[in-house]
Symmetry: C2
């Protein structure tokens, strides 16, 4: 848990929060977006765009093309409703949309589960290292691959 307060939403409540957040940015909460968010939030592990496309297609009885999923996931990431786990080529729903910070993901190489950590101090240090090298528009990618406790 980070150093600041925030709700960890789930289920209905999470979708509502996501919707509110997206609409606050002037974007629409369409049926397709709702379906994709629901699917994403339903996964307990990082889900690939193709995982989501398949699930949503089945659930709605109507095909959603992967490129549409990518578009919407990009929108979600840009608006902080979801995060991309780079080392897994996959996405996670943000359980506290609207709360912006650099996330740290611990990904289990055995079960695929990802633990989401916030550590402002640590991520600020990473940003600082990059800034010292003259970087701008900094986006830290802090992940750890390993074996989780359950799988040990």
């Amino acid at each position: 848990m980070g150093k600041h307060q925030h709700h960890e939403h789930q289920g209905e409540s999470l979708a509502d929060a996501a919707r509110a957040n997206l609409e606050k940015s002037g974007e629409k909460w369409t049926d397709t977006r709702a379906a994709i968010f629901e699917a994403l939030a339903g996964f307990s592990r990082p889900a690939s765009a193709y995982d989501i496309a398949e699930l949503v297609s089945t659930a709605r009885g109507k095909r959603v093309a992967p490129n549409s999923v990518y578009r919407i996931l990009d929108l979600f990431v840009a608006n902080n409703l979801a995060m991309r786990v780079e080392s897994a080529n996959a996405y996670l729903a943000n359980s506290h949309p609207g709360c912006e910070h650099d996330c740290i993901f611990l990904v289990c190489d055995t079960c695929g589960e990802a633990t989401h950590i916030d550590d402002e101090l640590l991520s600020q240090q990473v940003r600082k290292v990059a800034k010292n090298q003259g970087f701008s528009s900094i986006r830290p990618v802090i992940e750890v691959r390993g074996i989780c406790q359950k799988c040990t």
Copy 2:
């Protein structure tokens, strides 16, 4: 630069160091491996397996299949002759093979160049966060995407 001393090899010298290191592990320095290492070391940015396959194939006038390149890159990574940049799906030659540490990569979204940083303190903190969560076999992935000084 890290807190410890090490040579930053280049060209012939780098290949020699890589070779020595690989052979120390009981692995062979074959022609194909030498060619792939040379190609990899010749790139100034992280190179994909397919980039390398193409370059080596052309240079030798004999096709190297991508899967062979992947195999050899995996071997290089396992023996610390190369590093994989996760957020770029690409590889970099290790300019000080044999020196083992968690690398930090700053990758420019504009020009693709990657700056390699070592910060033992920082990477240890990341390891610690994972350890606190019960993770084992920890492999930190610390990268920063952004715009480099040159491209600003």
